[in-house]
Structure formats: structure tokens, C-alpha cells
């Protein structure tokens, strides 16, 4: 069933790839690598948006998944047939030339991936239904959609927290169950693991594209995968790993655009930012901060900002009616509380800071040791001589996101200390891959450190 659950994601991966490739036409190998890791999550996003409109219209989700999957695979077959000569020629010319250093770093990355898979496997054996929020917030909604037919909207009448969370995760898992004609817990598990792997893969692809150095990209991806915290929260089947993926993908398109000025990239950045907001409410803050970044870029390049907004249209068309007509009010913002008084209460700030420090220090799968290592690495290695643009934009997005989280902690109707304790690990994971990207754009690469001369430039020109 595990393998079948993976296979059920395949048509959506193909759909994502075809649509991304349609917008972003580059056939450069490094771009194709980014597209490969982006394809699945993008296809899953597209499918869940279309599936939402479909079930909201009262239609059968199984029928939609049948049409979508068969249609996508037929389209793929037709395209492969049409371009068979060019594809075969490209495959014939393809040469994989890796130096010893590249191979060593890819080996290190493979080891990190293996440990990540082991950690995930071990966690799912203990918690096959994931952690509390997985079954209580996310997969229960998937069950309403899969089992409920036209009664799926009953999910909004449930007692519990966060009834207004958007539907990307729930519809995607229900999609897989429809394709398998069976409700298996392996589907959400596979979905979660897939996003965890894609996150590391996309980070590798983005840094490889921007630095042209495999060791640099492999070190970044290794550090992300080595966070036991990532494996735990991924296999817990929460929405935080998909959310972090969309943050990384949309945020990562900023330096990519600034490096090559490809007009198609802002469209994808906007679309994926919208998917973040369709995954979890925190994505709404990301949409605002990303819009500000692209507005800033748009001062001199108006089309970039317009294309970003164009990309946002489809997700917004789902999110707005979902929030207006279906989702109940958010539990953080409802109730009669004097928000100004809460914001002016120093004890809440103290509780948040104390709880943040103590929770982070004692967090399972301690990220502290890796963070200290990264900090020391930053001090020893220093800034690269070949910086890519986009560092400031990413830091701005991360800061806005964390400020928003902090304000939520201050005004939360829950105990601020408890709220911090229960969520800070996940909030750290939201931004960790994007921060890692910014850090690796800023720092010297392993190859730059190897030699005072221009070995890195020579290497980059060969890749």
C-alpha cells in the first residue's frame, strides 16, 4: 500500500511538471532539477484547488480524480511521443560528470537522507495515525471529504480548534484515497514524507542553480535533513512541512528571478505563495510579505509585480470564497478580548520569551547543536566573494513571518507560554529551509574555502 500511495501521487507530479514547464520554458539541467522537486507539490496544489471547486459544486471527487489522472497521463504520453526525437537525442548526449569531491558530498547527502528516512519510519511505526493535530485537524477533514460525499461540509460543524484551516492537505489525501479506492493511513504518511524529501531536494536544486556548486548545495540539504525535528514533524503528518516547502519554493524564486530576470518566475512565485495560504493560515502572512517584496522589485520592473499577482489569482479564487462562505471564524481572533490591553501587557512578553528559550533548548531532536555549528561555520567561513542577490528579500520575509507569529502569541486566547511550547518547533521549521537558502547565498562555499585562488569560479564554469 505504501508503494501504491506513492504511485497515486505520480499523475499529480506529472501535472505539476507539465504546467510549470509550460510557464517556465527553460530546459537547462539545473532548472529541470528545480522543476523536478517542485512538480509534485505544485501538482498537488493545483489538484486540490480544482478538487475544491469540484466538491463545492456538489460533484463526486472520485470522478474528478479519474478525469485528472487519465487526462494528465494521456497528455504526457502525447507530449513524449511528439518530442521523442529531441528527448532521445538529449538522453543520448546526457553525461554525468562528477568530481571526487562532488561524489563525496552526494554520499554525505545520501546518508542524511537515509537517517531521515529511518527516523520517519521509526516514528510512523509508533504513531501510524500521526500526532494529535494530524488526526484531529487534518485527516479528520480528509475523512469528511472522502466518506461524506455531498455531506463533506459537516466538517465545519465539528467541535475543536482551528475549524477554518484551508483544505490543501485534506483534499490531497482524500484525492489519493479516491485513486486507491481505499482509505489507508499510508496515503497521508506518503504525502508527508514526499514533501519532506522534496524540501531538501528543492533546497539542493536552488543552491546548485545559484552557486553552481554541488558541495555547497549538498551541505545545505544535509543540514536540513539532519534536523531530527524535520523528520518528526513531517511524519507527524502536520501541514507544517508542506507549508515550509511552499515558503522555500516561493521565496526561492526571488533570488532566482534576480539572477536571471526570467519573467515566468514571478508567476510561479505568486502561485506557490498562494498555495502556502491554501495549506495553512500562516501562509496568509507569507502572501502579504511576498507581495511587499515583489512590489519592491516592481519599482523598477513593473511586469514582475504584475506577474506575481497573476500567479496569485487561482489560489486566491479558492481561498476567499472558502473563508467567506464555508470556514467558521478563526478561534484565535474570535471572542471579546481587548487586544490593545493584551499587546500592552509585559507579563505576556516575558512568558513568551521564557517559554521560547526553554522549549527550544529542550526540543526533541535538538536543532541547537546544528544551529551552533552553522553559526560557527558562518564566522569561520565568512561572506562569499560571489554573492547572489535576494538575501535581503528573504530575510525580510522571514522577519515579517516571525513578527506575525510573535503578535499571535501576545494576543492568543490560550496561555501564551503553552501556545509557544506547543508550536515553536513547527514555527522554526516553517522558516528554517528559507533561512538556510539565505545563509548559503551569503556564505563562502566549501570550494571557495579550499583555495584562495579562483578554484570555485573554475569549478562553477565547468558546471
Amino acid at each position: 500500500m505504501l508503494l501504491l500511495s506513492f504511485l497515486a501521487l505520480l499523475p499529480r507530479c506529472v501535472l505539476g511538471f507539465l504546467l510549470i514547464h509550460r510557464i517556465w520554458r527553460s530546459a537547462d539541467t539545473k532548472d529541470l532539477l528545480i522543476k523536478a522537486f517542485l512538480a509534485g507539490p505544485a501538482g498537488i496544489g493545483i489538484s486540490s484547488l480544482a478538487g475544491f471547486f469540484w466538491i463545492w459544486a456538489g460533484l463526486d471527487l472520485r470522478l474528478y480524480m479519474f478525469f485528472e489522472s487519465i487526462g494528465t497521463l494521456l497528455l504526457l504520453a502525447a507530449l513524449l511521443w511528439r518530442h521523442k526525437v529531441a528527448l532521445l537525442e538529449r538522453l543520448r548526449q546526457a553525461r554525468l560528470s562528477l568530481s571526487k569531491v562532488d561524489s563525496l558530498w552526494l554520499g554525505i547527502l545520501a546518508l542524511a537522507l537515509l537517517i531521515f528516512a529511518g527516523e520517519s519510519w521509526n516514528y510512523q511505526l509508533q504513531f501510524p495515525h500521526g500526532a494529535w493535530d494530524a488526526w484531529n485537524h487534518w485527516n479528520v477533514v480528509a475523512r469528511f471529504i472522502y466518506r461524506g460525499g455531498s455531506h463533506w461540509t459537516g466538517t465545519f460543524l465539528r467541535t475543536g480548534d482551528h475549524p477554518d484551516y484551508p483544505l490543501l492537505l485534506a483534499i490531497s489525501n482524500a484525492d489519493t484515497w479516491e485513486l486507491l479506492s481505499r482509505e489507508t493511513i499510508r496515503a497521508p504518511l506518503t504525502f508527508a514524507f514526499f514533501f519532506g524529501m522534496c524540501q531538501a531536494g528543492l533546497l539542493f536544486g536552488l543552491i546548485y542553480k545559484l552557486s553552481s556548486q554541488i558541495p555547497h548545495a549538498a551541505l545545505a540539504a544535509t543540514l536540513v535533513l539532519a534536523h531530527a525535528l524535520l523528520a518528526i514533524w513531517t511524519t507527524a503528518m502536520y501541514a507544517d512541512t508542506p507549508l515550509a516547502f511552499y515558503f522555500l519554493a516561493s521565496g526561492g524564486f526571488t533570488p532566482l528571478y534576480l539572477a536571471g530576470r526570467d519573467k515566468s518566475l514571478p508567476i510561479l512565485a505568486g502561485f506557490i505563495a498562494g498555495l502556502a495560504a491554501w495549506t495553512k493560515n500562516e501562509g496568509l502572512v507569507f502572501v502579504i510579505s511576498s507581495t511587499l517584496v515583489w512590489l519592491w522589485i516592481g519599482r523598477t520592473e513593473k511586469m514582475a509585480f504584475r506577474y506575481f499577482l497573476l500567479g496569485l489569482v487561482l489560489p486566491v479564487l479558492a481561498i476567499v470564497p472558502f473563508k467567506l462562505f464555508l470556514a467558521p471564524d478563526n478561534d484565535i481572533f474570535t471572542g471579546s478580548r481587548d487586544l490593545i490591553a493584551l499587546l500592552l501587557e509585559p507579563a505576556r512578553y516575558r512568558a513568551i520569551l521564557t517559554s521560547s528559550v526553554s522549549t527550544f533548548q529542550h526540543m526533541d531532536g535538538s536543532p541547537v547543536i546544528i544551529l551552533i555549528g552553522i553559526l560557527v561555520y558562518g564566522i569561520i567561513a565568512g561572506k562569499t566573494h560571489r554573492p547572489a542577490r535576494g538575501f535581503a528579500e528573504i530575510i525580510f520575509i522571514v522577519l515579517v513571518q516571525w513578527i506575525a507569529y510573535f503578535v499571535i502569541f501576545v494576543i492568543t486566547p490560550l496561555s501564551p507560554g503553552w501556545h509557544v511550547q506547543s508550536s515553536i518547533g513547527r514555527l522554526y521549521l516553517h522558516m528554517m529551509p528559507l533561512l538556510m537558502l539565505a545563509f548559503f547565498l551569503w556564505i563562502k562555499s566549501p570550494l571557495e574555502l579550499r583555495s584562495a585562488n579562483d578554484a570555485a569560479d573554475t569549478y562553477a564554469s565547468r558546471h
Partner: protein
């Protein structure tokens, strides 16, 4: 200094791998399938779904803490586990709906029935075992 600089990326990767590897080893050593509270409850909720008519989309929920003079405390986890298991039926606390799920733990049915009679009048009750009952409020 150059040697340190050259070796540091490898050292950092090694430290990260050792940290994650040691965490994996720790979690394997302390592996305990008893931590999973959902799978067992899923078996109970399968029985509940089988006992509810297919066209029921709302059910009430009563627990041991609701019984008169019960020392038991409200258990939100079992409420949410039941909701997860019986979706797409919406679970609401109390007597309101026609069909009610009783999660009475170790309480004796003899002590429950007079109380139910007093609260909802005529009813039928199915004992599913494990202290779980499906109650049909006939007068509703």
C-alpha cells in the same frame, strides 16, 4: 587557519549526521508502540460506524463524566478520537441528536439506564463492548 576553514564544512556535516544518527538510535531504543492511542480507538469506532444507520450525519456524545455523581473527568482526547473515527458524522456533546454515542467506561449499564430514561424517555441501546453504547432516542 586555512586547514580549519577547508575542513569545517566536512566537520559541520559530520556533527549534523552524528546528531541526527544519535537521535535515531535514541528513538529506536525507546520505541514503544503503546504510545499510539489512535489505532486501538479506531477499532471501537469501526463498531460505532457499523451500528449507526448510513444516513445519520450527526450524533450526540455522552461520557462517564456526564453520569450523575460520577467521579470521572471530561476526557477531550476520547471525544476527538471518536470524532476522527466516525467522520463524516458530526459529533456533538450532549443529548440533542436522535442517535447518541455513550462512552461510559466502567460504569454499570444498570445505573445508566434509569438516568437515560429520565433524560430522553423511550430509547434503544446497543452495547458495543469496551463501555461504548449506541443509543437511539426514539422520541426525538
Amino acid at each position: 587557519m586555512r586547514l580549519i576553514k577547508r575542513g569545517f564544512p566536512y566537520l559541520l556535516a559530520l556533527v549534523a549526521l552524528l546528531a541526527s544518527g544519535s537521535h535515531l538510535q535514541h528513538t529506536i531504543l525507546f520505541f514503544d508502540p503503546a504510545n499510539d492511542m489512535v489505532s486501538g480507538w479506531e477499532e471501537h469506532t469501526k463498531l460505532i460506524r457499523g451500528a449507526l444507520p448510513a444516513d445519520v450525519y450527526e450524533a450526540g456524545y455522552l461520557e462517564e463524566a456526564d453520569l450523575p455523581d460520577s467521579p470521572a473527568l471530561h476526557d477531550p482526547a476520547e471525544f476527538f478520537l471518536t470524532q476522527y473515527g466516525i467522520a463524516p458524522v458530526v459529533l456533538v456533546e450532549g443529548f440533542g441528536p436522535e442517535w447518541i454515542i455513550g462512552n461510559f467506561g466502567g460504569a454499570s449499564i444498570v445505573s445508566i439506564e434509569p438516568w437515560l430514561k429520565e433524560q430522553i424517555g423511550e430509547y434503544t441501546i446497543q452495547n458495543l463492548g469496551f463501555g461504548i453504547y449506541v443509543i437511539h432516542d426514539i422520541e426525538n
